[in-house]
């Protein structure tokens, strides 16, 4: 009888009375074991506490930005997908600043003052100053995606905005101000609905070219209104025609040439969302991953000259394990299992799992989501910004997932999900698996908003990675990493001299004792965002890094040895052992 009662105890409220069925001896033992497990599971979870802590410090940052999607209840499709953000050091003062993208009034919406993107200068001590006006970065276009890099190799980072409407290229003047050089650079990209965007060197010529994701073909005439269970909802993107993405080659003189057709990119139309560029096949050039909504993803493989072949289906990254299309949202890459290869992590729609694609090294990826626990907690949510980051500096990379439904009224027709949701933190257990530690990782993970883009950088230069999240229609969330300092760390900033100045595409391999870590410099990643211009390595107990190899885009290698941990270093091309 005790067993029966215990067996039923899992249900809260009243279920105790239901289990009156007699149980046999073996069954009873099994029930007893289950009961004990159920009873102790919460305790075990407490004991297996997260080593990561995030504190919500938004209130003390003086950041007053509030996102708008530009909507007025008409449910235009782009309202749901705005927007990304960028973390970068715009003024070269050694700390990471924050740039938020913003929506703009859509047809039927009137405003007194047009909303703009917002630039916040990091003043240290978690204080930020709104420098939008001073920097001239207050674009009033409808912001969706952003990438940052020094495209003109003049020593400061420039900004490209992928908007609904004309895109914008802001050249950094080097004095804390920016100039809109879109027309001169020929990078407006028509009038499209944008998505993720990336700077990358497609042809290894030393300057950065530009990939521009395009979401879908939209006009107010083609706007679709739907209802679900009688509730007005945003229509599925399948109602709109997919479009090819765009690729622009840097001419080296401040102008770009549209090579979408010549490069092979134009052959594939999709509903692009997040994008990331990396050398997944370690052949020395940069490839492009496009997370496509409601259809197969694209993995464009570079032949080294800027010609691309779409290989997602062949490589196992087009679909989930079962071959189903996902509502793919954001995508990032990183070596989650420290096997020396870049893996992909991708977010998706409600009732779908996020996807972890493990790079097997032979041009094939295995979808490891189910075996690794890398999608824990994501099933009820629409998931967006993400990254594979070592938050506790223990030498393996954890996963952060930004959540929030795109239907602002989801609870009216499906209360298994919510518009405002908590974000998810998945801690790497060190054996290639993840556990959901969101409930045990501090106040920062208890915030419920509808998150979109997320960025990951060390905002206070204390050696661990903090988080900035753009929330749809609301204020952003700034999370300070307060994890107990268990591991040593090293941050690396690379400087190209022959290759692009930001070192975008540079591949770093680091050895510290038995630990081998890799990473790569990316421009544009996650959900239509930019972050991580400097690279972060958690070293665990290692106080010294034995060796660092920097493989520059184009083939050059620099080796650096015996580097003390717990600091930020700059590795300049040509200064290491060749």
């Amino acid at each position: 009888m005790k067993i029966s009662r215990r067996y039923c105890s899992e249900f809260q409220g009243g279920i105790n009375r239901i289990a009156t069925k007699p149980v046999g001896n073996m069954t009873a033992i099994r029930f007893w074991i289950i009961s004990v497990l159920i009873f102790f599971t919460p305790l075990l979870r407490t004991f297996a506490a997260s080593t990561i802590r995030f504190a919500d410090v938004t209130g003390q940052t003086r950041i007053g930005f509030k996102h708008t999607d530009g909507g007025s209840g008409k449910h235009y499709v782009m309202e749901t997908v705005s927007a990304g953000l960028a973390l970068f050091d715009y003024d070269n003062d050694g700390d990471v600043d924050i740039y938020f993208l913003n929506g703009a009034p859509l047809q039927g919406t009137t405003v007194d003052k047009p909303p703009t993107n917002a630039m916040y200068r990091n003043d240290g001590n978690w204080k930020f100053t709104d420098v939008t006006k001073q920097t001239s970065l207050g674009d009033t276009g409808y912001g969706l995606g952003v990438a940052v890099a020094d495209y003109d190799n003049d020593g400061d980072q420039d900004v490209y905005l992928n908007n609904y409407g004309p895109n914008v290229l802001y050249r950094n003047n080097g004095d804390g101000t920016f100039t809109d050089v879109t027309q001169a650079a020929k990078l407006a990209n028509g009038f499209q609905v944008g998505a993720g965007t990336n700077f990358l060197d497609i042809d290894k010529d030393g300057d950065l070219d530009l990939f521009v994701g395009n979401y879908l073909e939209f006009s107010y005439d083609s706007h679709v209104i739907k209802t679900t269970r009688g509730v007005p909802v945003y229509a599925n993107p399948r109602f709109y025609t997919p479009v090819p993405d765009s690729l622009f080659r840097n001419n080296g003189d401040g102008t770009f040439t549209d090579v979408t057709k010549d490069s092979g990119i134009s052959q594939h139309a999709g509903w692009a969302m997040g994008t990331v560029c990396c050398d997944f096949d370690a052949d020395g050039d940069t490839d492009i991953f496009v997370a496509n909504d409601v259809a197969e993803n694209f993995l464009f493989v570079n032949d080294g000259t800027g010609k691309f072949e779409e290989t997602a289906l062949l490589t196992g990254t087009a679909y989930d394990l079962a071959g189903n299309s996902q509502g793919s949202m954001g995508v990032d890459c990183g070596d989650y299992d420290n096997d020396g290869r870049l893996d992909f992590y991708m977010t998706s729609f409600q009732t779908q799992l996020t996807s972890l694609y493990r790079n097997m090294g032979d041009g094939i990826f295995d979808e490891m989501t189910l075996l690794t626990g890398a999608a824990a907690g994501t099933h009820p949510n629409v998931t967006w910004g993400n990254s594979i980051v070592d938050f506790d500096n223990d030498g393996d990379r954890d996963i952060f997932v930004a959540c929030g439904h795109l239907q602002d009224n989801i609870e009216l027709f499906d209360d298994t999900s919510k518009y405002y949701e908590k974000n998810i933190l998945l801690m790497n257990t060190g054996d290639g698996k993840f556990i959901n530690v969101s409930e045990e990782s501090g106040s920062g993970l208890q915030i419920e908003l509808s998150s979109r883009g997320a960025g990951f950088d060390d905002l206070d230069n204390d050696g661990d990675v903090d988080v900035v999240i753009l929330n749809s229609r609301r204020e952003p969330t700034i999370l300070r990493n307060d994890s107990p300092k268990q591991g040593h760390w090293l941050q690396i900033r690379v400087r190209g001299t022959k290759t692009n100045r930001d070192g975008v595409g540079a591949h770093i391999k680091l050895n510290a004792g038995e630990l081998t870590l890799i990473d790569e410099v990316h421009s544009g990643r996650g959900y239509q965002s930019h972050y991580g211009s400097r690279l972060y390595f958690g070293l665990g107990a290692h106080e010294t890094v034995d060796r660092i190899e920097v493989h520059w885009i184009g083939g050059g290698i620099d080796v650096f040895e015996n580097i003390a941990a717990d600091r930020l270093i700059t590795l300049t091309e040509g200064t290491g052992r060749q």
Binding site: E10, T20, G230, L313, L314, L321, G323, P380
Partner: protein, 516 residues
């Protein structure tokens, strides 16, 4: 295999053998006591007599079905576009309790002037009323189903919990709760709930597959495979489970097992694109790239078709119709519960409304038709069977129902044509020949043709029931030896069938008397 409510019901009324045996048992003239010269009863009298008994038989079947499966989830019937059904002459009877915004007929229910919210509210009102009229676990569980359909999972789970307090053996309630847990990513809880459902009803459809899904999400591929094996055993359409199982083998790097399962899925369901995707991956991982590419090409082609189909589906999606369909399902289930509890008037009202709400709801129409037959309203039943045939033109049961109703109404020509239609639809199956033969035997209109027809049926399928009818036809056609031979063969197949034994004794006795 145990079926869910809908399947069981359909199976019950789709097994003409059940009702035939009843009919045969009672209507076959040589089963009646001899009344001397007047013992040959006219066809019409036989029809009337048999009709009464058919009604009893159908009622018994329905009741049995309800007793066993009432309150189980009714799944959406396969949707076939059937504009004709929307005119629905058989279900025009107004259901006074519901808003009659469609005085011209149920087709206008789908017009934009109907508020979806009011239909949803109606579903809740009906279910709440049920809990007052018939308090009990089944009613509460049905209220839970209604809440689930309206997207209120919290209230749904609460109802199912209350239902389980009253009846802890409701596997369907556990199943519903498990689905909600799964949607909320509470996989451990989902596993536990599905395991409880299985303990209660191991044959609950799809539950082993859904359990496997939760186990897979927990990263337990071996356990998922075991559960899928059981699902594959039980499911008449196991392709999905085979692909799921293959994917678990892929995770375990058991590529040959994965290939075999993917191929088995394709055997069951050619064109199952996920299986081709899996095969492409499996062959790629065993280094057979050429084969992998072939499967990829097939997958690509199928995927393109799928995308086209999805786009069409998106464009065709009608929210009101979708909501009405769900409400129609729960109205049907509630109507059946009223019927089971001897509230036929209330049941009829709800079933009519269900049919109005969803012009393609075959279950509500079938139950209604049975109800009409039970209450002697064969003309109304006949119209429903006409509608059912329009909705599901390939389903034999509807023709049989129509034929019986027509016969009971004395429309013998129409009945005969209906049974002939079964032969036209399925010339290689025994059922059409048997039903037409049976009709001729019942009406005694064409005994010689009946004999030819039932011989044809026996040639195709020498089942005990067909042989029994052959015996009957032989006897009517004065072929005593043939009759004895046929019933003997039937008895060989069903040695414990007491009716067959009695028939054999009687025919043999008469044969002996004749020879004496």
């Amino acid at each position: 295999m145990k079926l869910n409510g809908k399947s069981r019901f359909i199976e019950a009324i789709s097994k003409p053998e059940n009702s035939q045996v009843q009919r045969n048992k009672l209507a076959r003239p040589h089963e009646k006591k001899s009344n001397g010269p007047g013992r040959i009863v006219s066809g019409r009298v036989i029809i009337i007599a048999s009709a009464v008994l058919v009604v009893i038989a159908v009622a018994a079947l329905i009741l049995t079905n309800f007793l066993e499966s009432d309150n189980k989830t009714i799944e959406t019937a396969p949707v076939h576009s059937s504009p004709a059904a929307e005119s629905s002459p058989a279900v025009q009877k107004p259901a006074a309790e519901f808003p009659q915004t469609n005085p011209k007929g149920p087709e206008s229910l789908l017009a934009p002037n109907i508020e979806i919210d009011s239909v949803k509210a109606e579903s809740v009102k009906v279910a709440l009323r049920l809990t007052q009229d018939l308090p009990g676990p089944k009613s509460i569980a049905l209220l839970g189903d209604v809440h689930r359909n309206n997207g209120n999972s919290t209230e749904a789970v609460e109802c199912w919990r209350k239902s389980l307090e009253l009846d802890p053996n409701n596997a369907v309630a556990f199943n519903g709760m498990a689905w909600i847990a799964m949607k909320k990513a509470e996989y451990e809880k989902a596993v536990d709930l599905w395991e409880r459902a299985i303990q209660i009803d191991p044959d609950l459809p799809y539950v082993h597959g859904t359990l496997a899904g939760a186990l897979a999400c927990l990263g337990r591929p071996e356990q998922a495979i075991e559960s899928l094996k059981r699902d594959i055993q039980l499911s008449p359409k196991p392709a999905h489970s085979l692909v799921m199982m293959a994917n678990q083998h892929m995770l375990l790097k058991e590529y040959e097992k994965a290939k075999a399962a993917f191929k088995a899925a394709i055997n069951h369901q050619p064109g199952y694109l996920n299986a081709y995707y899996g095969l492409a991956n499996a062959y790629a991982r065993t280094g057979e790239m050429e084969t992998s590419r072939e499967y990829i090409n097939t997958f690509r082609a199928l995927k393109a078709k799928e995308m086209d189909a999805l786009k069409k589906r998106d464009k065709a999606f009608d929210d009101l119709r979708s909501v009405c369909r769900k409400v129609s399902e729960t109205h049907t289930a509630i109507g059946r519960l009223y019927l089971m509890n001897k509230r036929p008037a209330k049941a009829e009202q709800l079933l009519l409304r269900a049919a109005q709400l969803d012009p393609e709801n075959t279950v509500s129409r079938m139950v209604l038709a049975s109800l009409y037959q039970q209450t002697g309203r064969n003309d109304q039943a006949l119209r429903l069977y006409d509608e059912l045939i329009r909705i599901e033109p390939g389903r034999v049961n509807h023709y049989i129902g129509k034929g019986i109703c027509a016969a009971m109404l004395g429309q013998l020509g129409k009945a005969e044509k209906t049974f002939q239609e079964i032969i036209r639809l399925y010339p290689s199956r025994a059922i059409g020949y048997r039903e037409l033969a049976h009709f001729h035997l019942m009406t005694r209109t064409k005994p010689a043709e009946a004999l030819l027809l039932i011989r044809k049926a026996v040639d195709i399928n020498s089942s005990a029931k067909n042989l029994y009818l052959l015996s009957w036809a032989c006897e009517i056609n004065k072929d005593q030896q043939g009759a004895i031979e046929a019933i003997r063969r039937a008895l060989e197949l069903e040695p414990n069938n007491e009716d067959f034994k009695k028939i054999l004794q009687r025919i043999s006795r008469r044969d002996k008397q004749n020879s004496d």
